[in-house]
Structure formats: C-alpha cells, structure tokens
Amino acid sequence: MTPEKDKRDAPLSCARAQVLLEAFLDGDLAPARQQRFLAHVEGCAACRTELEAARRVQEGLRALPRWSCPPAVAERVMAQVGAADASFRVPWRERLAGWRQGWQGLWRPVCAGVSVAVTALLIALLARQPPPPSPETVALQQAEEEVRWALAYVAQVTARASDQALESTVGEVVGNVIGERVVAPVTNAVSRPLKEDRQP
C-alpha cells in the first residue's frame, strides 16, 4: 500500500469532516470521499449532530413558503406605466442613444426604399414621351425646310444661268417659292396666336 493510498484510506478528522459537510449536503463528494465522510459521522456523535442540524436548516430553507407575487402588484405596475407613458421623460442622451439604435436597425430598409424610388424616377424620365409640337413649331419647321430648299435651288440655278437669266430666276424664286411657300405660311402661323390673344 502506497503512502498516498494509505492517506486516502485513513479516518477523517472532525475538522476535515466539517469542511466536507456542506459539499456532502450538495452531493458534490466523490463516492470514495463520501464513504469516508459517512464512516466518520457514524462513529462521531458531534459531527452527526452537526450534520443533522445542517440537514434541518437546509430542509427548512427548502420548505420556506414560495410566495407568489400578488396580482395587485402587476395591476399597479400597468397603471403606473400607462400613466407614465404619456408624460414619460427620458434624458436626452438616452433618447438619442435609442434613436441611434433604431436607425442602425432601419438604415438597410431605408436605403433599399430610396434606391427603388430613384430607379423608378429614372425609368419614368426615360420613358416620358415628348409633348406634341405646336402648330407654330410645325409651320416654322416647314418654312425652314422650304428656305433651305429654295437656297439650294438658287445656288444650283446661279451656277448655270447667265447674268441675264439670273435676274429673272431670282425674281421667280423670291416671288413664287419664298413668297408663297415660305413667307405666307409663317406669317399665318405666327399671326394666329396673336389674333387669339386679342379675343376677349
């Protein structure tokens, strides 16, 4: 038998048994140590009395009433919280912290919402149809086209005609082409809104 094993098998002293008593009550002793403790208590009246007193206190504690919270307390709490809700004052630092926490949780959905709105706006702008041109705009575009055509015609004729023929050709272009096909429609288109404005 080794000295260590011999020490483990030696009877407990009362002082050692007192130290182990609480752990025994909690069931925390290893089986071998528990056996030595019980063997000591069996042969020691003082330690047996101490163990019984400890058991009695523990059982007494565990048998103490397990009070329930009276329902009136919960009612008073709800009344107090309800009354305080309207005029509840939180220090501004705490309130700020609360908002910050709230925003930390909200920033993702807020960003997602903004992205969707911007995308929808861009699509709407791209898909928007240009407004129909006004009659004046149409007349002016048409006159511009006629002038361009007339000038091209003049340039072509000028290149081929003699000086004598040029004079009559220019007179023909100015009178027939520019006068009838350009000046008259533009004058009509521009004067129409002016007449409408004068009407009561």
Binding site: G60, L64, R66, V73
Partner: protein, 161 residues
C-alpha cells in the same frame, strides 16, 4: 415567472409583504423602461441585481434590519413545497422554524443572503447563480457553504435535532 421570483427575493430580504410589493413594483416598472436595452439572457441577472439593490434601499429607508412581527408564513399567497400536510404540532414547530429561518436569512450579509435564497429557495444551479451574480463558480459554492454555516450559528437551538 419573473415577478414571483422578484417578489420572493424582495420579501425574504425586506421581511414583509408591503415593502416587498413596493420593491417588486419599482423593479417591474424599471424593467419596463429598460427592456429594449436588455439582452434576453441579461434580463434575469439584471432583475436580481436591481431587486437586491432596491430591497437594500428599502431597508436603509426603514433604518434597520428589524425583525418583522406577525409575519405569516402560511399567508394566502404562500405555496408550500411540502407535498404532505404535517400535523398541528409539527406545523407549529415548522412555523417557528420558518420564522426563525426567515429572520436569520434577513440578518445575513450580502452576497450570502442572495446566494442562499437563489440556491435553497429558488433552487437554481450553481452555474445559474454564478451567471446571475457574476461570481466564479467556486466562489458561489464557498459563499453558500459559509452562508449556511452562519444560518446554523444564528439559529442555535432551533437548528438542533
């Protein structure tokens, strides 16, 4: 139920129903106001800490740790854990032991009192008490053993078999 545990912790600390109700009300209102800032796992430790502090404040306001005369351990809201009803003589003896135990418990210093209440009355595990009070596991065991020895010493003859 949190409110029952709070109420019991307060009642075994302050020693009477009225003050325990006031403490419980105060703690629950504070819980309502702080709930959004508490992690679910942190609610119970927070409640124990606040209840303990509020109970000690109530004792300070009162000015002493006076013994409560007329405390009825078998009041209408009490739920006894014993499954068998004892006879009148045993009941009387038990009542006397309860009264002595309650007073001895109130006279315990912190954190011994909270640890004894949480372990022996609330029946929490060592690990739960350790997490609740923020104390190392071995410290909880040492304090519990010391607290029970103090109780035995205070009870004197009432603890004798």
């Amino acid at each position: 139920m949190y409110q029952d545990r709070i109420y019991r912790l307060a009642r075994y600390t302050v020693g009477n129903r009225e003050e325990a109700e006031d403490v419980t009300q105060e703690v629950l209102v504070r819980l309502w106001r702080h709930l959004e800032r508490l992690e679910p796992a942190g609610v119970w430790p927070w409640l124990v800490r606040v209840t303990r502090n509020a109970s000690i404040d109530a004792l300070r306001r009162r000015g002493s740790y006076r013994a409560v005369v007329g405390e009825d351990p078998e009041g209408e809201t009490a739920q006894r854990t014993a499954s068998v009803e004892p006879g009148p003589a045993v009941q009387l003896e038990a009542s006397e032991l309860w009264r002595q135990l309650s007073e001895a418990l109130r006279d315990l210093a912190e954190p011994y009192r909270s640890i004894v209440i949480l372990r022996e009355i609330e029946q929490l595990k060592y690990e739960e008490i350790s997490a609740t009070l923020g104390l190392p596991l071995n410290t909880v065991k040492v304090y519990l053993h010391r607290g029970r020895r103090m109780l035995r010493a205070k009870l004197g003859e009432y603890a004798e078999p």
